[in-house]
């Protein structure tokens, strides 16, 4: 029994190592001749050769095996890929919400904090981030519907709600409107403009 258990534990280690090998998920499929030349020029021929072989190993062995043995991961939603916080944005982005032209919320502004707990919640934040940063964000309609519904509940007489994406160069003291989402009474349809 102890041997069987030790064997099973070893198998678990092997599977975890294959599906989540540190660093290899960021390697491309192959080195172009230009990349190889650049690598060789910077680090020497040995490093370039090792890099090339590592990529081939990743493409021909690790990824196919990982795809096969890692099929259990989606069931528990435990994909073993850990790309935690690689970089931050080069510009400063903020979300501003205006009701009938009056700002009622602005990111990290203690005086304009309407709906701040909801919009700063860790589960909501990724949607806020993508809506503010990207013109083609996937969930801007859902976020806008939520903000508009909350605004109409707070200010029943309101006739116009805007979600404004503000962008500025660091350190962030000259924000400019990047794009805005506007909803107006009576139909409260959503319109996105630059």
């Amino acid at each position: 029994m102890t041997h069987l258990r030790a064997g099973l534990i070893l198998a678990v280690y092997a599977v975890l190592l294959v599906v989540g090998t540190p660093g290899l998920d960021h390697l491309g499929w192959r080195l172009s001749s230009r990349e190889e030349a650049r690598l060789e020029k910077r680090f020497g021929p040995t490093v370039a050769r090792v890099g090339k072989r590592l990529m081939a190993f990743n493409k021909e062995f690790r990824r196919p095996v990982a795809n096969r043995v890692g099929k259990f991961q989606p069931v528990f939603r435990i994909r073993q890929a850990w790309n935690l916080y690689r970089d931050g944005p080069r510009q400063i982005y903020r979300l501003e919400v205006r009701v009938d032209g009056e700002p009622v919320y602005r990111t990290e502004d203690p005086e304009l904090d309407w709906l701040a707990p909801q919009l700063r919640n860790r589960r909501m934040r990724p949607v806020v981030e993508s809506t503010v940063r990207k013109w083609k964000s996937g969930n801007w309609r859902g976020l806008s519907r939520f903000v508009v519904a909350q605004a109409r509940q707070t200010w029943p007489q309101a006739e116009r709600v805007e979600l404004v994406s503000l962008r500025s160069k660091r350190p962030g003291n000259r924000p400019q409107v990047q794009h805005r989402i506007i909803a107006t009474a009576p139909d409260w349809g959503l319109e996105k403009t630059r």
Partner: protein
């Protein structure tokens, strides 16, 4: 053969069950408080509902199955199930079944609303699944002098090494400025992003060297995480605690730091006894 014997003996070493049980309680507590906060903010119908049913997200994962069973009520049901299971996991009664059902329900919440299911959620589920097979599953009072096989603790440590090492390598591969002497430190950009952090860029942009040191320290800590597998584990853990407390104070990432710190009782615990000293015995399931 000698190598195999060493491995078998290593798997059979025994450890105090309480550090891992503490991790179990803390992981379940993190998940519970996080979901209760969503409930308190009135976000359940917004987050845990498909876009077509009036929810926030237009996309869900193909592995979402509960929506076929329960329709628009799937989110609130999965959340209630997760919370109930986490209470059982904390108390230690029916722990194994509760972990299995709780992790499955929590995963379904993630499939239902993928943007809100972050790396920390995957880490917590992975940790709970390891604990499912460990001896740290009974109620607290039964674990007083309980010993258990050390392999789940070793496996958790291995997973933490993979996580920190991957994070460090990913930073270096995708953004070499983490080690730069002159470029704007990525850490500065991260902790002064108003959408995710509290630090004011207008103040802290004037102190780049501070964040350059912080960037180097972060990389050094993450790449040295293999020390977790050595006798230097506790010392490494002290630095890890400092990093996570720093992230908690500077950023607004919800339970990320607290979730990661939940694993630290096993890093700070005394090292395992040799197998000969005591045959591992798991406490009975509550």
């Amino acid at each position: 053969m000698r190598l195999w014997r060493w491995w078998v003996e290593r798997c059979e070493r025994s450890v105090d069950a309480r550090p891992l049980a503490t991790t179990r309680v803390l992981l379940a507590l993190c998940i519970s408080l996080d979901l209760l906060r969503v409930l308190q903010l009135g976000l359940v119908p917004v987050l845990f509902r498909l876009g077509e049913d009036g929810g926030l997200t237009a996309f869900h994962d193909p592995h979402l199955i509960i929506h076929d069973w329960w329709g628009p009520s799937a989110g609130p049901i999965a959340m209630t199930l997760t919370l109930a299971c986490m209470v059982l996991v904390m108390t230690g009664y029916g722990t194994r079944v509760a972990i299995l059902i709780g992790v499955l329900a929590y995963a379904q919440l993630g499939h239902l609303y993928p943007p809100g299911d972050r790396a920390v959620d995957r880490i917590l589920r992975t940790g709970l699944l390891v604990i499912l097979f460990s001896g740290a599953v009974g109620p607290w009072w039964k674990l007083k002098r309980a010993q258990m096989p050390a392999w789940p603790v070793d496996l958790l440590k291995f997973i933490l090494v993979m996580i920190y090492l991957s994070a460090g390598l990913a930073k270096l591969i995708q953004q070499p400025a983490w080690l730069s002497w002159s470029a704007q430190p990525p850490l500065l950009r991260i902790v002064t992003d108003p959408l995710a952090a509290h630090m004011n860029p207008m103040i802290w942009d004037q102190w780049p060297w501070l964040f350059r040191l912080g960037s180097w320290g972060t990389i050094a800590l993450e790449l040295s995480s293999v020390l977790i597998l050595t006798r230097w584990c506790r010392r490494w853990a002290m630095a890890g605690i400092a990093m996570h407390v720093g992230i908690y104070l500077m950023m607004d990432l919800g339970m990320f730091s607290l979730g990661m710190l939940s694993f630290y009782p096993v890093l700070l615990a005394a090292p395992p006894h040799p197998a000969a000293s005591a045959r591992a015995r798991a406490p009975p399931e509550g």
